[in-house]
């Protein structure tokens, strides 16, 4: 019965080793998908490369459908999984700031680590930038505290917020993703080719 480590099926001492193994798989897949290239990543915002959209939504859907299946079959207890908490304005403002950072820098933290691993100097500078950003946030924490701790809605899911059936939601979300994939291919064909 999963999750295995919190339920004591696998001893807690294995946690760090499993973390490294999962990290290796994560890094390998990101790099092999081309996410160590900032110009490929930025393509999603200009319509010349939609790898980010395709990888990101395929991954989210595979994980989501997999978790629902495993919960249904009794291999995993979905109520024991950690649900990212919802701090309404923190999520919106933080996400907006990250969005500007994404277009300006061309990476997100996970992809920048992959690019650091293969020697991209811009990625090394980007990671230093992230650390400066964390430092600024921490030093000015008093200023950010109201958004960071305020507007807390709990560890809610879309089922609580929208009141929809989760299976129907996943079904509709899948249809939306497939439409987005088709539309992205049409847009890409109309854009000027960019070589990088």
């Amino acid at each position: 019965m999963g999750p295995l480590i919190p339920n004591g099926v696998i001893p807690y001492e294995w946690n760090s080793i499993i973390a490294i193994i999962i990290g290796i798989a994560f890094g390998f897949v990101l790099e092999a998908s081309g996410f160590s290239s900032s110009r490929k990543l930025a393509g999603v915002f200009y319509g010349y490369d939609f790898a980010v959209l395709k990888v990101f939504f395929t991954a989210a859907l595979v994980a989501l459908i997999g978790i629902l299946y495993m919960d249904y079959l009794g291999y995993i207890d979905m109520s024991k999984l950690y649900v990212h908490p919802t701090y309404l304005w923190g999520a919106i403002i933080g996400g907006a700031v990250m969005g500007i950072g994404f277009v300006a820098g061309g990476f997100c933290p996970g992809t920048s680590l992959c690019a650091v691993a293969i020697g991209k100097i811009d990625a090394i500078i980007y990671v230093i930038g992230i650390m400066i950003g964390v430092f600024i946030f921490s030093e000015l924490y008093i200023l950010f505290q109201p958004i960071y701790e305020g507007y807390f809605e709990g560890n809610i899911t879309l089922m609580d917020s929208l009141g929809v059936n989760r299976y129907w939601f996943v079904f509709i979300f899948t249809i939306i993703a497939i439409i987005a994939f088709i539309v992205s291919d049409i847009i890409r064909k109309k854009q000027k080719k960019i070589f990088y």
Partner: protein, 176 residues
């Protein structure tokens, strides 16, 4: 088997195949640990560890650093730091197999590498700041949050990509 590295450099996996495997990894992570993946957490731990080493009094007095400082244990001893080390190893293996390893600054031919590095630094600062405000980045908040249908995860995802499209026009010279 001889691999032609010059030809292979820009050949990446099919995005649906990469996305499928990434989804399986997220599923496996939830099955094992009950939590999702992350990336910015390791950088936060690094900053906490550096500040805690340089000025321990300041770190303990600060309301944010002190959340992550434990007695008799380094702030670096977290799941996400080990995972990030794995990411570096995994990406290095993948890049090595395809001949993509080498020191270089990647940028559009229309801009100088100095300009690219300046924007990378600025973008990094903003992303680091935003990831703290939203309690996670594209991996920890958006992707792992979406896998368990977290409302906050979906909002963060929409905010990141929505704002990205809104401001993309102003940064177009850097990319196209």
């Amino acid at each position: 088997m001889k691999i032609d590295n010059q030809k292979n450099r820009h050949v990446y996996w099919n995005p649906y195949f990469g996305g499928f495997l990434l989804g399986i990894i997220i599923l496996f992570t939830f099955y094992m640990t009950g939590r999702g993946l992350g990336a910015s957490g390791a950088m936060k731990s690094s900053v906490v560890a550096i500040v805690d080493t340089v000025t321990p009094e300041h770190a303990e007095a600060n309301a944010y650093y002190s959340k992550f400082i434990k007695d008799n244990e380094s702030p670096m001893n977290t799941w996400l730091v080990f995972e990030a080390l794995g990411v570096l190893i995994g990406a290095f293996i993948s890049g090595g197999l395809s001949g993509r390893i080498g020191w270089r600054t990647q940028h559009s031919p229309k801009i100088t590498s100095k300009r690219r590095l300046a924007f990378a630094l600025g973008g990094g600062i903003l992303f680091g700041l935003g990831a703290q405000i939203a309690r996670g980045c594209t991996s920890g908040a958006a992707l792992s949050g979406m896998a368990v249908l977290s409302t906050g995860g979906f909002i963060t995802m929409l905010a990141i990509f929505g704002t990205g499209y809104l401001v993309a026009y102003f940064f177009r010279k850097n990319w196209i």
